[in-house]
């Protein structure tokens, strides 16, 4: 990776469950090239996977005619990942899952994706696209973060 320059890698995924693993592998490869430690790469892989699953399932509603865009932008000290879909965007902030409520059936056992994304990366923001198109989640991990 050269200094003072942003290098972009783009992947387009079909809106089909399982293809998030393509984005995971790509993000992992880019992060390895940048010199991220293994534990941060594992964090990134899970965050990217959950962002893609949300895009496939909720953004594009499993419509295989629509694709999910994944844009990785590597700079000298950070990696930004944008996961773009054709949905209206996330309306609510991610809530911390309450395991007691889940165990008592008072909260859906699912619904942990956004929480995991926010917990595993250094920055996460959800941006609603105009006219219900090109909504995205933006994730950033930084190289100087202590493991």
């Amino acid at each position: 990776m050269s200094e003072r320059k942003t290098t972009n890698v783009e992947v387009r995924l079909p809106s089909r469950m399982g293809f998030e693993k393509v984005a995971m592998s790509t993000a992992s490869a880019v992060a390895k090239l940048m010199g991220f430690p293994d534990d941060r790469i594992e964090d990134l892989k899970t965050a990217v996977a959950e962002a893609c699953i949300n895009a496939i399932e909720h953004g594009n509603r499993l419509n295989e005619k629509l694709s999910v865009g994944v844009v990785l932008s590597a700079s000298v000290d950070s990696l930004e990942v944008k996961v773009i879909d054709d949905g209206t965007g996330m309306q609510k902030k991610p809530a911390k899952p309450d395991i007691d409520k889940k165990m008592h059936g008072e909260e859906d056992a699912r619904g942990m994706g956004m929480f995991l994304i926010q917990a595993l990366v250094d920055e996460a923001e959800w941006v609603a696209g105009s006219e219900g198109k090109s909504s995205f989640v933006r994730l950033v991990i930084r190289l100087d973060k202590d493991a």
Partner: protein, 119 residues
């Protein structure tokens, strides 16, 4: 795209002499794994099983839908008065399971031997 989840059941005895039922998973644990995770658990003989050990040694990928299946399994086991202990998760997934609070309801151990020692 996702690798099929496989599961099998083993019977062991803990060093303290207690019978332990082991559910061994292999492959990805995701939304498509309901039969392999919940189905395998629900197929265990009710009333006889007191302790369930979950083996994640051969699991490479678990997403939030897969974690939700594990929580559903824990919910059913708790309601049935069973104890659940897990082992073989990678350091990353041990962290993720801890973050979502699963450790409150299931002990996580690096290896089968360490898990059995506690039973």
């Amino acid at each position: 795209m996702q690798s099929e989840t496989k599961s099998r059941v083993d019977q062991l005895t803990s060093p303290a002499g207690h019978p332990v039922t082991v559910l061994r998973f292999e492959g990805d644990i995701a939304s498509t794994s309901k039969d392999a995770v919940l189905g395998a658990y629900q197929g265990l003989p009710k009333g006889k099983v007191k302790v369930v050990l979950l083996d994640f040694t051969k699991v490479d990928y678990i997403n939030s839908s897969g974690i939700a299946l594990v929580i559903q399994l824990l919910m059913e086991a708790t309601n049935a008065g069973q104890k659940v202990v897990a082992f073989g998760l990678s350091a990353h997934f041990t962290k993720v399971f801890t973050m979502v609070g699963i450790t409150k309801y299931a002990g996580l151990f690096p290896s089968q031997a360490e898990a059995l020692e506690t039973l």
